[in-house]
């Protein structure tokens, strides 16, 4: 069933739904507090006797710390305490295989912005002045600015670990018979494509407040997407029992992956709060947020694909080179992700993926919306556009003819769920009048099509364990209020609303009857956090289970009380009643009273662990998901051939969401993805300036400011028509798939493809600045190949490929990629 929702003004029309609340637009549960300013973000928190903390950050990209002089800072009135690396000697990092960060650099700094020391003072002004007054003496080391430099310069190493020299991670995975695949091809295409790095640009800067409580106990309030992982990292760094640390995730003013790592500033304020016995707060400046980064990896890619005449793929060899920045972060996973989801949209029987990530002296890259997937997806979708042209097949046809079947297993052992990609493509083609207009618009105007697919939650947790990935507790009592406890973190995506509406739906009550307690490691059951588009899937399942258990308990009591069968009871309109005669029943709160009298204090739990993925090879941990979302987009551009400036006039986007729990929120996620995607396609770049050697070879951010980091404004936004495609996946709670990340994926390649349709210029890189289009047009005018993009792909030794057998070895134990990588 496809619902066409045209944004932004058209009213969303809810079709007849099998649910009471789900599927109908409702006001998000945190909406009122957000628009009235009642929501307390981490930076809004104030406590008596609170001190303010600032970090002293490295001004050089790679150096040994010789000496830190605090004398000027300590002499300032109001300075309370200072902290250096050796005060917090234990390393941390989000992945167990790359715990390479310290709260403050111990003896080496690795990028401009790497924290070296901290200062606590009575006011923020004094803390700031004192931090600037701290003198750090460095002995500079050679710096590495790019993947190619890391390849050429194995010594000195930025880290003492990693697969080789300054290469952090190398992967080579072969699925199927590559040689045979290419032999059977009628056409072999090769492309070298570059995807520039960019950052999240969440509107809220990171902030954290630590409050000491009693003896050796601390609470850390933070703008984090992953309170549980922050809790783990704090336990390690503070060397305290986990039970002594409480992490509370405040509402995030946007995250996009930028707040999913445990961060230096969180460790520092916790330590200072414990040491000083008074609350400590830090709020990063916008400049510092650019240094925290963890954004999109710059990736150079080489793609070689065999096609048959009918457009089907026979084999593909993908090589990726990731510029990882100075730390591991999620980088090992990012490396795998540049290959993992290449197989989920179109049939690809033989696939060879090689990926490598380098350490460089720049802020660490990590997960940004789409985590490692937008880059190869960009390469694949422009590659397919070229293949379609070459083979004389319509790009939409080529895709539709080769879709991966539902419930199948891909070459790299990913188990597919429902696939609504055909409906997505058909919807956007119909909306954009693709058949009549593609390739036929006047010179300068063009249409481009691209698709994408994303996880609905990563199959495995970040660290190896056998516990659920999400838990929900429900408390009911005679008030009729239902309190729902869950460790999830609201980052603006609407996770609170999803949690609340699922419980309300099952218990037949209103959203106003629900009270949420979320993202608190002391009070709520563990949920791993808001990343990998996992919340609706996993929190949803856990909430559904807990709510159904509560419903069953109440039904049992009511049935006994009314002397009716429990199976015949209906929970709706804040009442519990018999289906045969709605008059026989009671209000929901009366029902709770009856149940409480019968069973005593009421509480239920629910939890969720994703199904085991079929892949049994080393590296199989990245890519599996309970099911996958699908998107297709058509972008219309108008190129000004005299300036290279292009306008995106209209975007039609179809997204297979399974079930839209709240169509309006889903629409917001789709439109937000389009906006972010256009930013990446058109202008956004996190780039660094290299100074000449005689001037220290420093690598500095081009301009860490909101003004100079170019992101689109209102005027750059096109009209967007969204089609929510519902495939009601049984693997998902209420059939609902993800919508937070997937819709981003088709945008960048669709823009590039549309520019080709408009002026015949291929830009094989993003961002596509106007001058690249202009350059392509100049080449075209001179009769040369109208292509702008990277040159040759470097010679990387990815090591012996791991040849993955086609047959599944069922008895082989699950190999965890993190645990295996560690030894």
């Amino acid at each position: 069933m496809a619902r066409a929702i045209k944004s932004p003004s058209d009213e969303v029309v809810a079709e007849k739904s099998r649910y009471r609340l789900i599927g109908t637009p409702f006001r998000r549960v945190d909406g009122r507090a957000k628009v009235t300013g009642d929501t307390r973000f981490a930076d809004d928190l104030r406590f008596p006797r609170m001190v303010y903390v600032k970090l002293v950050r490295s001004t050089v990209p790679h150096a040994k710390i010789k000496h830190i002089d605090f004398s000027a800072a300590e002499s300032m009135t109001g300075v309370i305490d200072t902290l250096v690396g050796k005060d917090l000697p234990d390393p941390f990092g989000i992945l167990p295989v790359s715990e390479d960060e310290h709260a403050l650099a111990i003896d080496t700094v690795r990028f401009v912005g790497d924290p070296v020391a901290a200062v606590a003072a009575l006011t923020e002004d004094v803390a700031h002045a004192a931090a600037l007054a701290v003198q750090v003496e460095y002995e500079e080391l050679p710096t590495i600015s790019s993947f190619n430099e890391a390849l050429k310069i194995p010594e000195p190493r930025i880290h003492e670990y990693g697969d080789e020299g300054n290469l952090h991670k190398k992967v080579s995975l072969q699925f199927g018979d590559i040689a045979e695949g290419f032999e059977s091809a009628d056409l072999v295409l090769e492309d070298t494509v570059y995807y520039e790095g960019n950052t999240h640009l969440a509107i809220e800067q990171h902030a954290a407040v630590a409050v000491p409580e009693g003896e050796d106990r601390v609470t850390v309030y933070s703008s984090t997407q992953t309170p549980h992982y922050v809790h783990r990292a704090l336990t390690k760094v503070l060397d305290l029992e986990p039970s002594r640390i409480r992490v509370v995730s405040c509402s995030n003013g946007g995250g996009f992956g930028g707040k999913s790592d445990p961060f230096n500033h969180e460790m520092v304020v916790a330590k200072l709060a414990l040491r000083l016995g008074r609350p400590a707060k830090i709020t990063l400046s916008r400049e510092e947020v650019f240094y925290c980064h963890r954004g999109r990896h710059p990736v150079l890619m080489h793609l070689r694909t065999g096609f048959r005449k009918d457009g089907s793929m026979t084999a593909q060899h993908l090589r990726t080179a990731l510029d990882g920045g100075a730390f591991g972060s999620y980088g090992v996973a990012s490396t795998y992700y540049t290959g993992a989801l290449q197989t989920t949209t179109y049939q690809l029987p033989n696939y060879w993926f090689e990926g490598a990530r380098a350490f460089t002296n720049k802020p660490p890259c990590g997960p940004k919306r789409g985590h490692g997937t937008p880059q190869p997806r960009f390469a694949l979708e422009i590659h397919l556009d070229k293949a379609a042209k070459e083979l004389g097949i319509d790009p939409a046809e080529l895709r539709l003819n080769n879709l991966q079947p539902e419930n199948s297993v891909t070459a790299n052992w990913l188990k597919m769920g429902t696939i609504g990609l055909d409906q997505c493509i058909e919807a956007v083609c119909k909306g954009s009048r693709w058949k009549e207009r593609y390739g036929k618009l006047p010179e300068g105007k063009g249409l481009g099509l691209a698709c994408g697919s994303y996880l609905c939650g990563a199959g495995l947790p970040i660290y190896w364990n056998h516990m659920p990935q999400s838990g929900v507790q429900i408390k009911l009592d005679r008030s009729g209020c239902v309190a729902v406890f869950c460790g999830e973190a609201e980052i603006g995506q609407g996770s609170d609303s999803v949690l609340a509406v699922i419980v309300a739906e099952v218990l037949g009550i209103d959203l106003a009857d629900i009270r949420l307690c979320v993202g608190d490691t002391d009070l709520t059951p563990v949920d791993l956090g808001s990343y990998s588009s996992r919340v609706t899937m996993m929190v949803g399942h856990a909430a559904l289970q807990a709510a159904e258990r509560a419903r069953d308990t109440i039904a049992k009591a009511v049935a006994e009380h009314l002397q009716v069968p429990a199976e015949g009871l209906v929970f709706a309109d804040r009442r519990v009643f018999t289906a045969s005669d709605p008059e026989i029943g009671m209000s929901f709160s009366e029902a709770v009273v009856v149940a409480e009298a019968l069973f005593g204090t009421l509480g239920t739990t629910g939890s969720y662990t994703p199904p085991r993925a079929p892949g049994r090879y080393r590296g199989a941990g990245v890519g599996p998901s309970p099911t996958y979302s699908y998107s297709a987009a058509v972008v219309e551009v108008e190129v000004d051939p005299e300036t290279g400036v292009y306008d995106v006039n209209h975007v039609w986007i179809g997204h297979d969401i399974g079930t839209a729990i709240n169509p309006v929120l889903a629409l917001g996620q789709v439109e937000g993805s389009v906006y972010m995607g256009l930013g990446e396609a058109m202008m956004e770049e996190q780039v660094f300036r290299r100074l000449p050697k005689r001037l220290s070879s420093a690598l500095v951010h081009k301009m860490p400011s909101l003004l100079e980091y170019k992101s689109p404004g209102f005027h750059d936004m096109p009209e967007i028509t969204t089609y929510l495609i519902e495939t009601d996946d049984e693997r998902a709670p209420m059939g609902a798939k993800e919508v937070g990340q997937g819709p981003l994926l088709p945008i960048m390649p669709a823009v590039a493809n549309a520019i080709f349709d408009a002026v015949g210029v291929r830009v094989d890189q993003v961002p596509i600045h106007p001058e690249l289009v202009l350059k392509g047009l100049q080449e075209k005018a001179k009769g040369r190949l109208p292509r702008v993009g990277p040159g040759r792909f470097p010679d990387v030794d990815y090591g012996e490929p791991l040849v993955v057998p086609k047959q599944l070895c069922a008895q082989h134990p699950v190999v965890n990629w993190l645990a295996v990588d560690r030894d």
Binding site: V56, T59, S285, V645, M682, M683, R689, L691, E708, P770
Partner: protein, 329 residues
């Protein structure tokens, strides 16, 4: 690390005279602000830390647009939004209102003034980031090294410094032959717009003739170009809140199909708005048409010297000049 404003003494003078006295008294330790759009950036980055900040935004004498018969006078603290919306300017000098409408964003135009827009400092990212370059009193141009990122930088007159003028109204005022009225210790002097902007060869530490103690009080535009045909276009990375990669401003008078008089200036290509005199010369006395367009395109960027990453500005200038000519047909 920075991103945090230092403390300073704020003065709100009640008259131009008082402002001039304060400016004179504090000399190099003083700083004149009006909208503060450029100044606060500098203060927050802590690369400029004046002791005394003199706010002239409240001076009524410096505010508003007046018809003085042979010229229109614009007070220096008139906001860009007021200029954009002013009927008198729209009627007489639509080139200026078009340029003002392209500055930054609506919020910034609501606070930013015309005086500030022409007096603002360059956006060179090295200079803005506090590197000790020539412009900042050091001995290197960081933006012109083999590894430098200089996509936004100059094609012309890059003498030790490759910074460009960021002003959108600057090229329009140069084209319109505006005059800048500057007050210093009660003395008034008048400088043509074209001379108001200065390049690194004149003084590498300044973008305009304004020195410490000077206050730009008024901009006068002679009626000479009133009712002339005009063309303004700004090419930038995004359509709002951005500085020009290249902009073009033109006024032209057409008599009997021929160009009787014309002035063209470009922004974003050198430290000052650049008059395209060769384009003007080839246009004067000639018939408007395809041939003029072709020639304008060819000569517009004559003498340009590209850096590593700004070659694209050369065809861009040519195409914009051609477009300006085309607009006359």
């Amino acid at each position: 690390m920075t991103d945090y404003m230092h403390s300073f003494d704020l003065f709100e003078p009640a008259s131009v005279e008082e402002a001039a006295q304060l400016a004179d008294k504090y000399g190099k330790d003083g700083w004149i602000i009006a909208g503060g759009k450029d100044s606060f950036d500098w203060f927050k980055d802590r690369h400029k830390r004046p002791q005394a900040v003199i706010n002239i935004a409240g001076l009524k004498q410096l505010h508003g647009v007046k018809d003085n018969g042979d010229h229109v006078a614009i007070g220096a603290v008139t906001t860009l939004t007021e200029i954009e919306d002013n009927k008198l300017l729209q009627k007489n000098f639509p080139l200026l209102t078009a340029a003002a409408a392209k500055v930054a964003s609506p919020q910034i135009r609501n606070a930013g003034t015309i005086g500030g827009n022409v007096s603002q400092d360059t956006r060179c990212s090295y200079y803005r980031d506090g590197f000790p370059c020539y412009r900042a009193g050091g001995n290197t141009c960081y933006a012109n090294t083999p590894t430098a990122m200089n996509r936004e930088h100059a094609l012309y007159d890059a003498i030790r410094c490759v910074a460009v003028t960021p002003s959108d109204t600057g090229p329009a005022l140069v084209a319109l032959e505006a005059e800048m009225i500057i007050s210093r210790k009660g003395k008034i002097r008048t400088v043509p717009a074209e001379k108001f902007f200065i390049g690194p060869a004149v003084d590498i530490t300044r973008m305009t003739v304004l020195e410490k103690g000077d206050i730009l009080t008024e901009i006068r535009i002679p009626k000479k170009w009133s009712g002339a045909k005009h063309y303004f276009e700004k090419i930038a990375d995004r359509q709002t809140w951005d500085f020009a990669l290249v902009s073009i401003a033109m006024v032209a008078k057409i008599t009997g199909g021929k160009v009787s008089d014309v002035r063209v200036a470009c922004g974003g290509v050198q430290c000052t708005p650049r008059r395209l005199t060769t384009v003007e010369d080839l246009m004067k006395g000639e018939n408007v048409g395809a041939e003029m367009e072709r020639l304008a395109k060819r000569v517009a960027a004559q003498g340009a010297k590209a850096l590593n990453y700004n070659h694209f500005k050369i065809p861009l200038m040519g195409n914009l000049a051609a477009r300006a000519v085309r607009s006359l047909t």
